[in-house]
Symmetry: C2
Subunit: 324 residues, 2 copies
């Protein structure tokens, strides 16, 4: 409820960001406009723009400046999704056909490249080298994270540290810098920028762990696809890694995962999902997620008591809520 | 000969750029270092770094500054090649296995993304927003050019203007800004930057037309693959478009191209190649290429008479030489 109020109060700014995103990806080549706008229309929570706007309240707030951070961040996120869908061979996302499914893999690859490049043209309008450096450095980390995900497919021997490092790159960093850059771009003091980065980082870690839990514990209706899709594609997530540590579960779970691997993703993962759910893995992953959200909230302590601080707290509490 | 002397005289600077490129793409993720260094080792003429260095002689020459332009430009070029190889389903390039062939398409996609992102981290070290703007704007055009190429596969009705616009984006712009940014980054006056841009643009147009001619008229030894590979993948180039304008050739050539299209690229394109060679298409494309090189040389007129001007003239003459 609080979150809906927040979205409502930010509506004009979010709409301005949405418009700028649409203008940015509109090309004189119809196919690129079509694929890009198709992605935009699919929507999303626009969590990165919301965080940029709120972080901007801690500096010298300017929508014009913040747009030049929020638009590229959300577009870069979208570009990674398009490439992800190629890798994952995904036909739908958020209930819409993916670009690779509605068009093809080649078009999806270049659409990703194009959106990514367009995103960068927006940020170059900002005369802040530090913003460019943070952004480009993070994109490199995201790429490494994507590649780690491929490398780690079906690797049942990976450590939990390995999982955490991967989701840090894949998810948490882009959320961390959404908070950080909103503050940096509006000239907030360094200690505030750092606190916001820390908030975003821990929020992002929680976010990905909760997402991985949802894929195992959610209903088909809530997820939009049958549970266990991560396992079907070989993505070994935190609850699975914890479950593999249980002697009474490990061997049966390994057998199931091996069967999925051998079947090239066409197998049913429901037996594996059931095993993980019956283990302590879910609870332990939840505990880890809780620790991250506590750290996120802690990072807010040092921030001045402006309404945006309250909003960030609300967002953290909402993200951390179990939706399964 | 002159060109070999030029390369020899630039050797320390080119080596410094090569080292920086290797350092830039070295990652803590072995697979990314492997794929990226595999690409680097395949070599290439490094024409973009050479142009950056020469253009820098017209400003306040600084290798440190020029490296931050040359490295990203060459890396971005490499990133587009990796993605091209996915699209073209190419197994070798410069006699080496491509990333998509030695590893796979997914790895190639992320390797391209990664090299591209790494390239941008280098340029952000340069506190020149204008350089960032020119670079990111050009990358967008390159992406559009790549997509146009897919769109135009097997389109025998495309205009010559359409072809020229495509190669402008696909090839000429990155060469144009190599010249321009070398001068911009070292603070050369605007009229010099513009003249160098114009030189590079016309050189790049010539370069691509000559490359397209080579694919039709070269020997298998010179090209490194059987002639006609453009046609086999549906890429309709300038000599083919001219040949299609000849009444005595058109129908037979259309039939051959249609056969290639129907065979999904597995057909022999030698009959089509023979038809184009027997037409006036080759000569007309050569004339067009000559016009671009004349314009490139003309653009140099206004530049001060320093040795670099002589070097650029030599490069233009060398690129324009028929190697078939």
């Amino acid at each position: 409820m609080k979150l809906m109020q927040l979205y409502a109060s930010l509506k004009p700014e979010l709409q301005a960001i949405e418009d700028q995103m649409a203008r940015t990806v509109t090309s004189d080549l119809p196919i690129l406009s079509e694929t890009s706008l198709h992605l935009l229309k699919a929507g999303g929570k626009r969590i990165r723009p919301v965080l940029v706007l709120l972080a901007g309240k801690f500096g010298d707030y300017s929508l014009e400046t913040l747009k030049k951070v929020a638009v590229p961040l959300e577009l870069i996120h979208m570009a990674t999704l398009v490439h992800d869908d190629v890798i994952d061979d995904a036909d739908t996302r958020r209930g819409q056909l993916t670009v690779k499914s509605k068009w093809d893999n080649r078009i999806a690859m270049y659409t990703g490249d194009y959106i990514y490049a367009k995103a960068l043209t927006v940020v170059t309008e900002l005369d802040k080298p530090r913003v460019h450096q943070i952004l480009s450095g993070t994109i490199v980390q995201v790429c490494i994270g994507e590649m780690e995900q491929i490398r780690d497919f079906f690797n049942v021997d990976q450590s939990i540290r390995n999982y955490l490092r991967r989701i840090r790159r894949k998810t948490a960093l882009l959320i961390a810098i959404s908070c950080q850059l909103g503050a940096v771009a509006t000239g907030a003091p360094a200690n505030i920028c750092n606190a916001l980065y820390s908030f975003g980082y821990n929020l992002g870690m929680n976010f990905q762990i909760m997402d991985d839990l949802l894929d195992l514990c959610g209903t088909e209706k809530a997820i939009g696809k049958p549970p266990g899709s991560d396992l079907r594609q070989g993505n070994i997530t935190l609850p699975v890694l914890y479950a593999l540590r249980e002697d009474s579960i490990r061997d049966r779970l390994l057998t199931e995962i091996e069967a999925i691997k051998q079947s090239d993703g066409r197998a049913d993962s429901s037996a594996a999902v059931k095993l993980v759910r019956s283990s302590k893995g879910v609870q332990e992953a939840e505990r880890m997620a809780d620790r991250y959200i506590a750290k996120a909230l802690k990072a807010l302590d040092s921030l001045p008591n402006i309404p945006a601080k309250r909003n960030l707290t609300d967002i953290a509490r909402f993200v951390a809520k179990r939706s399964y």
